[in-house]
Every structure is written in structure tokens, then in C-alpha cells.
């Protein structure tokens, strides 16, 4: 099992999920919109195709941060 801190700019929740879960399934379950901004796993940007990979395949064995960061433009 993997402890995932999942969230975005305004909220963060802690989840415990099976290591065979995909990143997308966890984000969907916790209502994180990943259509905008950049997805990060432990601070590193994710790439197209990574969302349907499992935590195990991405080398996560115990815990991680899975966050969506939207950078707002300033006036």
C-alpha cells in the first residue's frame, strides 16, 4: 500500500491506495482536476501517458505527493 498526499493549489488530502492503482484513478476519486495546470509526482512533472501508469510502475513503494499545480498569470 502507498500513502499518497493528493491535491492541488487549494486542497490536500491523504489517501492510502494499492500500489497497483493508477495515478488517474486516485485523482478522479479525490476530485482533482488534472485537465489544467501541471501534474507533479514528488515534485517532478509528469508527462502524457504517465497518468495511466501505476504507482508501482513509477517506482513509488511507500509514499508520495501527487499534486496539480496551476500557475496563475499576474496582471
Amino acid at each position: 500500500m502507498v500513502q499518497v498526499v493528493v491535491g492541488n493549489n487549494v486542497k490536500r488530502e491523504t489517501a492510502i491506495v494499492d500500489e497497483t492503482s493508477t495515478l488517474r484513478s486516485v485523482l478522479d476519486e479525490y476530485g482533482i482536476d488534472y485537465s489544467r495546470g501541471v501534474m507533479h509526482l514528488d515534485g517532478a512533472s509528469l508527462h502524457p501517458g504517465d497518468m495511466d501508469k501505476t504507482f508501482k510502475s513509477l517506482g513509488v513503494t511507500e509514499k508520495c505527493f501527487l499534486t496539480n499545480v496551476v500557475k496563475a498569470d499576474n496582471a
Binding site: M1, Q3, T14, I16, D18, E19, T20, T61, E62, K63
Partner: protein, 129 residues
């Protein structure tokens, strides 16, 4: 209660909940497979997919080969020359096993409720030939 069996470098954790029952609870009441702290943050969970044991949970990949089908996971430990192998194993998995036993106390009641709900629903279904 969960059992831990050591044979050589193999450590087998066997639950007294069947693998099929864990899958059933995961389908109908997944929240019952999770232990939460007083702030409602999840701290430990079990599942019937994957294969791992750590401080956050146990994923059971298989079941016992008898007719009971209890959930089971086999770990292969590192080579160890010391004398207290049991103590070493307890250090690695003891916490997880204790948490598993907490869930084993509550899950039989949950499984019974699910079975009763399914039976009640089944009685309402009519199959027209």
C-alpha cells in the same frame, strides 16, 4: 487472528479473512478496509490487489491452498546471519500485523451485513425467462 510463519527466508502472513471476502468488502464498503486516526486521516489499509507489506498496509496477492482461501502474502527476506531472526521479522512487519488484526475484528460483522444486504436484494430480483 493473523498468523506469521517463517520457513527459511520466507515469511508468510496469513489473515483469517478470506481473499474473496476482502474483494467483497472492497467492492461494497471499501472504507471498511481502512483504519483512520482521530482526525479521520487514513493510517493503514488492506487490499486484495498488489503484493506488499509496509507501515501503510498489506496488499494480499493470493489465498491459502486449502478450501478456506484465507488471504496470504509471502515475503522473501534478506540473508540474515544473526540469531534473533524472529525479532528481526517482528521489527519489519509486526506493526502491520497488529493493524491487520484490528481490521480482522471488525470485518466479519461488515461481511455479514453485506451478505444480508445482497440476499435481501436478490429476493427482489425476478428473472423472466
Amino acid at each position: 487472528m493473523a498468523k506469521v510463519t517463517i520457513a527459511g527466508r520466507a515469511v508468510v502472513i496469513t489473515s483469517d479473512i478470506t481473499l474473496d471476502d476482502i474483494k467483497k468488502v472492497a467492492k461494497y464498503r471499501p472504507e471498511e478496509l481502512i483504519i483512520k486516526d482521530k482526525d479521520k486521516n487514513p493510517v493503514f489499509a488492506i487490499s486484495a490487489t498488489g503484493s506488499s507489506v509496509n507501515q501503510f498496509g498489506i496488499s494480499f496477492p493470493e489465498k491459502t491452498r486449502d478450501d478456506k482461501g484465507f488471504a496470504m502474502i509471502t515475503l522473501i527476506t534478506d540473508h540474515y546471519e544473526g540469531e534473533d531472526f524472529k525479532g528481526r521479522v517482528m521489527d519489519k512487519i509486526g506493526g502491520a500485523v497488529l493493524k491487520l488484526e484490528e481490521l480482522e475484528k471488525t470485518l466479519p460483522g461488515v461481511i455479514k451485513e453485506i451478505d444480508e444486504e445482497r440476499k435481501s436484494l436478490e429476493e427482489k430480483i425476478t428473472v423472466m425467462q
